[in-house]
Amino acid sequence: MTPTLGLVPIWTAILGFAVFFYVVLDGFDLGVGMLYRFAPSREDRALVMNSIAPIWDGNETWLVLGSVGLLAAFPVAFAIIIPAVYFPILLMLLALIFRGLAFEFRFRDAEHRTFWDHGFAYGSALATFAQGVILGAFIQGFRVEGRHFVGSSLDCFTPFSLMTGVALMCGYALLGAAWLVMKTDGELQDWARALGRRALIGVALAILVVSIWTPLAHPAIALRWFSWPNIVLLSPTPLVAAGLVGLVWRSFQGAADGAPFLASLGLFVVSYLGIAISLWPTIVPGHFTLDQAAASPSTQAFLLVGTLALLPVILVYTAWSYWVFRGKVTADMGYH
């Protein structure tokens, strides 16, 4: 519980940051993808897609960094978790292929535009659902012997993980709607506001269900939250979450176009922390703690040197590219 300050906590923080960054960044553009089909008109759909066209690719890079970062910092966790979620990973990858290619192919391949439209929308939805299933499977744990997953490739599909799959779809849809409120105006923005509120209802329900279901199903998680003095120390978490739900709801009505996105971000931070509190300090719940799964100190140190040098640079030029494409998305924005 109280690791000495060293490589493992640093890597836990970096990986936690990278995964969260991925969830937020690809979260909003997958969310935009899911909402795409429901946009009022064809012109609106083009705007919706253009709002993420220059940045989706960079956002998805965080997925690579998250997976390779897990392999680098906690190799045995990677070797157990990834085969255990074999089919959700497969579905996610194939879905990401279709939705990624839709950006380019949709405009080029006029004869099959409907196909690529569907590829974009359903690809975004399926990738999100699969990520939610992976999250659920991760929380519920895996059958492990020694250093290997020994269950079946279908173990990961349970009522709980299917529920978290749907929950994440609501979550990304919320982020996507909040992004569109920020990037569009007029009727399209009104539409995004209305959809954002509906997604928020789903998100609030999902948070409630997960908060009741996980302690009931996992005594260790119940103990973490409800034992003395944790119950007092951790009680702000659900209260803040409830407050944020209210804040997001109101922000969709408010005049500040960036507020829904910021408030939704806050809700994601709290939910993410909630999961982290439940599982800390394990990386393969029930089997490996962060310390036990850690890569050799030499591995972690070798990668840390470059990461500390490069990550700030990456963040700076990522921020710069968002600044280049700042403001409302317009119809004439496009290739050159």
Binding site: N50, E60, L65, V68, L94, H148, L303, H336
Partner: protein
């Protein structure tokens, strides 16, 4: 169930990497070419460079997008299908893969966004800088992924503790014995591949009779580039082979189809290697030549396949023939370039119909050579994932059944057979439309999709003869 998850996982990996590698083989060279065009335009202000850069950027956007989505599949394969490899070698290979992400992917994807969408939003010099940074990203990606692969081929700088690999010397790990040769040979091969595509597209553009200055520029640039790089590439290949002889003698013996080693060995030209009979059927060989080019001495000693236990030999016929296909492609490339220079000397390069048509077909030669070369080196590494240390059969995920992998393989096959033909067709259509300068394009007519980012293409191209 008799479905073998190891064999199926190998087929799946070969399938996803085989298709994926075609894209970096093209985009690494193309990124550098576009950077060259952008910088050349910034310096000379000649419009032909800008027109060509815009033209190739459109093609780059499609191929790079395909490279990204098929590339994301790759690191996950290490987890889904090769988890024991990840557990065993993770302490060593993972930082190399992570450095690829940190140094390459963010750079590429961020500045590609600026390159594609930002010409009006950033100053012209910044646009050229973005092109250079994208190219730098693609090269950095090649550096780290080939460092990873080279460690798996010729491991060094490691120690084995409890049967797993641990790092001892990071410099030796990154710069393993085969790495400098593999990096040089692969990147130069990718550059040649791209140059051949530019050559073929230039030839097509000239034959189509439109955009003659652009077509001539592409043909001329590609031919001169190939004249410089093709010989370099062949020398690098030879050096890489000598390195293989030293560090992976079983692979080299398979390449040569050499069963019985010794001094003054023959060079096998063609034949059909038979793994179980341990000989080559119908072989044509030249005495003593093998020793000459493998050791650069008439009676140098070369190890044969029989010097290795049968369970440590790669599948000989595959390696033997893949290598010969690669060399054959190199010979054809030389022929194309030589013919081009003869025609250039006679001043009829851009009017010679049969030659321009041949150049169109030559656009595929590099890709065939890349796949053949990759097959040579990867199948030649078998039966190991980490050469001499970890067997392929001991690298797969223990939880996988044959049925699991049949399902995933079938889906990968189905999806790739949709996206690759579509992607290729779209890029061919762009070639068909030609390097139309953006400024001359009319606004989209009514009834068309005016909001599409790419709508500025001419919609009714005349067909080429």
């Amino acid at each position: 169930m008799s479905l073998d998850p190891v064999l199926l996982s190998r087929i799946q990996f070969a399938w996803v990497i085989g298709w994926h590698i075609l894209l970096p083989a093209f985009t690494i060279g193309l990124a550098s070419f576009i950077a060259f065009l952008e910088v050349a335009h910034a310096l000379t202000k000649r419009p032909v460079f800008l027109t060509l850069s815009q033209f190739w950027l459109r093609i780059f956007a499609v191929s790079f997008g395909m490279g990204v989505v098929t590339g994301i599949v790759m690191p996950f394969q290490f987890g889904t299908n090769w988890s024991r490899f990840s557990d065993n070698a993770g302490n060593i290979i993972s930082p190399l893969l992570a450095y690829e992400g940190l140094t390459a992917f963010f750079l590429e994807s961020t500045f590609l966004g600026v390159l594609l969408f930002g010409r009006k939003l950033v100053p012209p010099f910044m646009h050229a800088v973005a092109a250079v940074l994208v190219a730098a990203g693609t090269l950095s990606s090649a550096f780290w992924i080939l460092a990873t692969n080279s460690f798996m081929q010729t491991p060094s700088g490691y120690e084995v503790i409890d049967g797993r690999l641990f790092p001892k010397d990071w410099f030796a790990i990154v710069f393993s014995p085969s790495f400098p040769y593999r990096l040089a040979h692969t990147v130069s091969g990718f550059y040649v591949t791209t140059a051949l595509v530019v050559l073929g597209v230039g030839a097509y553009t000239l034959r189509a009779g439109r955009f003659a200055p652009e077509g001539r520029a592409m043909l001329w640039l590609a031919l001169w580039f190939l004249a410089l790089f093709l010989p370099v590439q062949i020398v690098l290949g030879d050096l890489h082979g000598l390195n293989t002889a030293e560090y992976q003698p079983a692979k080299l013996a398979a390449i040569e189809g050499l069963w019985e080693g010794g001094r003054g060995v023959a060079a096998s030209i063609v034949g059909l290697p038979d793994q179980s009979a341990q000989r080559n059927w119908g072989e044509i060989s030249i005495p003593r030549l093998g020793s000459l080019y493998l050791t650069h001495s008439w009676d140098g000693e070369v190890k044969g396949l029989e010097d290795f236990p049968a369970d440590q030999r790669p599948p000989v016929a595959v390696v033997y023939w893949a290598f010969r296909v690669m060399v054959g492609m190199a010979a054809l490339m030389l022929l194309v370039v030589a013919a081009g220079f003869v025609l250039m000397a006679r001043g009829r390069l851009d009017q010679c119909g049969w030659y321009l048509k041949a150049c169109q077909f030559a656009a595929a030669l590099g890709f065939v050579a890349v796949i053949a070369g990759w097959t040579t080196t990867e199948v030649g590494r078998q039966p190991w994932t980490v050469y001499g240390l970890l067997r392929t059969a001991d690298s797969t995920s223990p939880s996988l059944t044959g049925g699991d992998v049949v399902v995933s393989l079938a889906l990968y096959v189905a999806v790739y057979l949709v996206i690759y033909p579509v992607g290729l067709a779209l890029m061919l259509k762009m070639v068909w439309d030609g390097p139309a300068p953006r400024e001359s394009v009319e606004p989209a007519a009514s009834g068309q999709q005016p909001f599409a980012p790419l709508a500025a293409l001419p919609t009714t191209p005349e067909r080429a003869p």
